[in-house]
């Protein structure tokens, strides 16, 4: 039912107004404000106030000093996204197409771990991967890790935990699109003498592409801005992500112009990456 009654043209605007106003005030205005802050004279401070002088140099400074962290964030996020896709796909497939009457229970089980606080689960991983944990001792005993080798405070730990934490964001969109696949199509592929792998590759995978695109975006975007995993599981030097830099610049150093420039760059980079990706994947159905 699409209402086309011309005498009530204002109704949809009235319904939209409160929410749209909220987003305009507390999402769009802050973005402009962030942009303005990134152009302040960096010699000011919170106490003395900032002078607006269109100091574009903030961007050059920010990029020049922190490009390694930028690069690392996107690399970590990309690896975590690919790993999450590989891990989540069989799970989503099993629930959507193989679980029969157990479907609802399995779905609840997928969501259930995420009712435990995000931070507590991450802290549990620091316990499991810590230097005195039995898992690390086991790896040392079978010589996968050298004597005194660590997992905690390595890039491996950070990427592993990023993968873990964003797994449901990958699983649920995959499940939604796999659930729509008619199992008879897979049977038909088999009847026409396609090998099981070909049947998957030619039939199921293309049909699940909207889920793959949505899932990778929902994983990649938060993962690239995350700093909790890097802070709790990372070391001092080679695991710092751009989120850590922005957080510290705002809340510890109070270097607002640089921090705002970094934040704006992160946003811009993600918008560009996402736009290109969505265009290449050919799914505009996300909005």
């Amino acid at each position: 039912m699409t209402n086309t009654d011309t005498s009530k043209k204002w109704v949809p605007y009235l319904l939209l107004a409160p929410g749209a106003l909220w987003l305009a005030l507390f999402f769009l205005t802050p973005m402009f404000n962030l942009g303005a802050t990134s152009l302040y004279d960096p010699s000011g401070s919170l106490e003395t106030g900032y002078v607006m002088n269109g100091h574009v140099g903030n961007y050059a400074d920010a990029l020049g000093e922190y490009w390694p962290q930028f690069l690392r964030s996107f690399t970590f996020a990309a690896i975590a996204t690919v790993l999450a896709l590989i891990i989540a796909y069989p799970l989503a497939y099993a629930i959507a197409l193989k679980s029969g009457q157990w479907k609802n229970i399995l779905l609840v089980l997928v969501i259930a771990p995420f009712f435990t606080s995000f931070l507590l689960r991450t802290l549990a991983w620091t316990a499991l991967l810590g230097d005195n944990s039995s898992f690390v001792h086991f790896l040392q005993d079978i010589h996968i890790l050298p004597e005194g080798g660590r997992i905690l405070a390595t890039p491996f730990a950070v990427v592993m935990c990023l993968t873990y934490n964003f797994l449901p964001f990958m699983t649920l969109p995959l499940f939604t699109s796999l659930e729509k696949v008619d199992p008879r199509l897979i049977e038909a592929a088999g009847d026409l003498y396609s090998k099981p792998f070909n049947g998957f590759h030619r039939v199921v995978l293309p049909l699940s592409m909207p889920g793959v695109v949505a899932g990778t975006l929902l994983t990649f975007i938060p993962a690239s801005g995350d700093y909790i995993n890097a802070q709790l599981l990372g070391g001092i030097k080679n695991t710092t992500m751009i989120g850590n830099v922005i957080d510290r610049a705002f809340l510890e150093r109070g270097a607002y112009p640089t921090a705002a420039a970094l934040s704006f760059l992160l946003m811009a980079a993600i918008v560009i990456l996402v736009a290109t990706y969505v265009k290449r994947a050919g799914t505009d159905e996300l909005v």
Binding site: A94, R121, G225, Y227, G243
Partner: protein, 263 residues
């Protein structure tokens, strides 16, 4: 061998599911732990104390949980109402500017939390608005809103529009149709949107950390204790909250099943 081959996907799927539960098992196990020192994660002695006296030990924790519950509830109500209205307008009306509205709703979901949090911080600072309970609430309603709209829209898309047309044909006006037909059919979608909002708000750390001032929410309390080593009681009561959530979820599912049986 043949059995394994036939069920390989299910087996892998269940292994992945088990992996998702590993840290939860750790959290549950530690909630029964009485550690010798506060700084270790080793399991020393079995105890029920953490469950019986969740507020003792870490004094600041229970107030922090209360703050989080309060913010979670109010922002859920706010975001659910605003979001449902928006979803209804977007799905049931044709009007100019729909594309802009959709974009406005998509952008917050596509922004990393550090950007959302830090941009709000610059706004509040330049407007000299004091940081605290209200700024957290404003931020939470903002980032929950898009998720509510997406969830409710999905439910509206699955509803048969002919039911609403039938009501109109029977001389119900727009408001009556919405109140008597659309809203009841929409209820499960609204309920899951509200549940999603609450869990997003209750668990949020990054955006909150930028805008909290001196207010301490539960995730911020956990973060603070993590910097000093974990008091075990945090874990005990956190698990309690999960249990609560699972019960609520079970109730909802049970109610739906009964409804389905009755229908």
């Amino acid at each position: 061998m043949n059995w394994i081959r036939k069920n390989i996907i299910m087996i892998v799927g269940l292994l992945v599911l088990f992996y998702m539960f590993i840290p939860v098992f750790v959290v549950i196990a530690l909630s029964f732990n009485e550690p010798k020192s506060r700084l270790t994660y080793t399991f020393d002695k079995f105890t029920f104390d953490n469950w019986l006296h969740p507020c003792s030990g870490a004094e600041a924790m229970c107030p922090a949980v209360m703050v989080s519950l309060k913010i979670g509830l109010i922002s859920t109500i706010g975001a659910t109402i605003l979001g449902t209205l928006m979803a209804y307008a977007l799905m049931r009306y044709r009007f100019r500017g729909k594309g802009v509205a959709n974009l406005l709703l998509f952008l917050p979901m596509a922004s990393p939390e550090v950007v959302l949090g830090s941009s709000l911080l610059t706004l509040f600072v330049s407007a000299s608005f004091p940081l605290g309970f209200w700024t957290i609430l404003i931020a939470h309603i903002m980032f929950c809103l898009s998720f509510v709209v997406v969830t409710v829209k999905a439910r509206l898309a699955g509803m048969d529009p002919r039911l609403e047309q039938a009501a109109m044909d029977l001389y119900a006006n727009e408001w009556q149709t919405f109140r008597r037909i659309t809203l009841p059919l929409l209820a499960p979608g609204i309920a899951s949107a509200a549940l999603l909002s609450f869990s997003l708000s209750f668990d949020d750390f990054i955006v909150t950390n930028f805008n909290s001032g001196s207010t301490v929410t539960f995730p911020m309390f956990v973060w603070g204790s993590a910097q000093r080593g974990i008091p075990v009681n945090v874990i005990g009561s956190a698990v309690f909250l999960i249990a609560l959530a699972i019960v609520v979820l079970g109730q909802i599912i049970g109610a739906r099943k009964r409804k389905a049986l009755a229908a």
